[in-house]
Symmetry: C2
Subunit: 338 residues, 2 copies
């Protein structure tokens, strides 16, 4: 009897640290990582009173600032500005027309001064009159071929490694992962499968008008330049109710645009995990919160604690932010209380 006993004790000793290393390796051993693992282990444990059966394990993620970079401005806006510049040769009148002239002069304040009307014009011009599949192909190509001005890396490489790991970890535990973004749904669908393993049908975003019409002799669904739904703030619970049809039990955001979604979904009637990515790392990325134009986090900072939502510190909780950066050495991490 001695031998098997020794063997299993040996295996146990070796196996535990190995397994611990394998889960979420880009996360430091912080209370946030512990909270994620504890939540997942609880809701997947059939003997727990907080067990949640697999079809109800819905996890939703904001995109800009939660899964990838949103500074100095939303990647989708960078795409729109590039498209305007590329088309400007065919539109000499744009030199005198706002918001186009501001775009051509790289005058971001001028664009911002035009407010949402200016933004709608840019979207209509750059996102409308497309078959969705063609639009996605253009977006995909642009994301891979265009470098971010500060990082000097393709926009497609600006995803946050620890969040992509988190998506995988949740799916391994039979969660169904969705993106619920204020960004345009077709822009995100262009790369959601490649970058996040999330298929188009699991992307909820802002919407343009769709019409069915004949193109080249066959029926085609065409996107118009008219915005019909803004999936931000109070729009997010509506987008989820419409597209997913049940409340998520895990919600990840980074800005006050995610507040209503967190508050509505995590209503205390079932187990829930709410997390806000806090951009507090000014060295490996950009630090911003209360005063930022993109990804403003103000109310969420004040209320997260009372709501029971976790603030993820990018500086302390992540060994690596982008794949093109070296991870920090776990041995040099401060020991945090779990």
């Amino acid at each position: 009897m001695l031998k098997p006993f020794h063997l299993s004790a040996f295996l146990l000793t070796v196996a535990t640290p190995l397994a611990a290393q394998e889960v979420l390796p880009s996360w430091t051993d912080s209370p946030r990582k512990a909270a994620i693992i504890s939540f997942v282990e609880t809701v997947t444990d059939e003997d727990s009173e907080d067990f949640v059966r697999a079809p109800e394990r819905i996890a939703v993620f904001d995109n800009d600032g939660t899964l990838w970079s949103e500074q100095p401005y939303y990647i989708q806006l960078a795409f729109a500005l590039d498209q305007i510049k590329a088309k400007a040769g065919d539109h000499p009148e744009w030199q005198e027309q706002e918001p186009f002239s501001s775009v051509l002069n790289d005058d971001l304040e001028g664009i911002a001064a035009g407010g949402s009307e200016a933004l709608m014009k840019l979207i209509a011009e750059t996102h409308g009159d497309y078959v969705p599949e063609d639009f996605r192909a253009e977006v995909g190509q642009w994301l891979h071929q265009t470098n971010h001005p500060d990082y000097g890396q393709p926009y497609a490489d600006l995803t946050f490694v620890p969040m992509v790991e988190l998506l995988d970890y949740l799916r391994e535990n039979d969660f169904k992962t969705f993106i619920v973004s204020g960004g345009g749904v077709e822009f995100i669908r262009a790369i959601s499968e490649e970058l996040y393993g999330i298929p188009p049908e699991q992307v909820v975003g802002s919407e343009l008008k769709l019409v069915l019409e004949e193109r080249d002799g066959v029926p085609a669904v065409i996107r118009q330049g008219e915005v019909t739904f803004i999936n931000d703030h109070g729009g997010k619970p509506i987008g989820i109710a419409s597209h997913i049809g049940r409340k998520p039990i895990a919600v990840f955001g980074n800005s006050d645009g995610d507040f209503e979604m967190l508050e509505w979904a995590l209503d205390g009637t079932r187990p829930g995990l709410g997390m806000i990515v806090h951009h507090d790392d000014g060295e490996r990325a950009v630090a911003y919160d209360r005063d930022s134009l993109a990804g403003r986090l103000d109310r969420g900072l004040d209320e997260a604690d009372a709501q029971g939502w976790h603030l993820i510190s990018m500086k302390d909780d992540w060994r690596q932010i982008f794949s093109f950066q070296e991870p920090t050495d776990p041995a040099e991490e401060p020991q945090t209380a779990q």
Copy 2:
């Protein structure tokens, strides 16, 4: 060498008929069953030039008349009429008001005479001002507790056994199955998981306006009585583009309301399977097509052949329609050419 050879030959002999019996057992050995199996075997065969990788194996099903009964009228309408009657005690004015007085007098022609405006009033009265989850609970209860007037069985039992088998068979082959119905999305979500194994997020239907407002001190998404999207005819490709975000490769319908979806999705650029359930069985169910109010099939009958879509004969292709009926004896089936 002889023994293993004999053994495998023996296994082959035994295994083939067994396997053939196991797939779609409620379908007769008709060309339609053969077409389904051939299509599935082709798109799942990595060596085939028509191989389709799993995430793109999207199959969509109409609901009324395709997955369950729609005669003498849509089950959702039966629910609405019952709700009006149940509420009539609180609304004495309905005795004099259309379309309510027609409902209370069981005057279907009177309701129909009111057209879509009358229908909208009934929907607003019976479907609006609900939290979706509460509405679904009411619908689920009603479907289980209310008997169909002709079959004398609960409405929840009026699903077509061969189609439920088909849903399972497709999912076993890594298809993702969706309902794309002209019916109300929340009505179907009430029972899609239980009856069809389809979760709420894979149901696309007609939509009512949703608003986020405070109820009992917490934010709630409330359905209003206003119809914002009709997911029928040309609406189906739009509903699919919005909710699923890619074209299905397998499309199942039964009426001309499915025509545009079949035509748009099965565009010939990829392998595709289009099938129309033809209600030609007047013995076990109701026979109807060109002149029916619910589930009118006219254009589809004329054009199915030229489009390459298969007409499923409920009379000839199905051994069983409803679970409460006895299946026919395979030995007594006519031998059809495959």
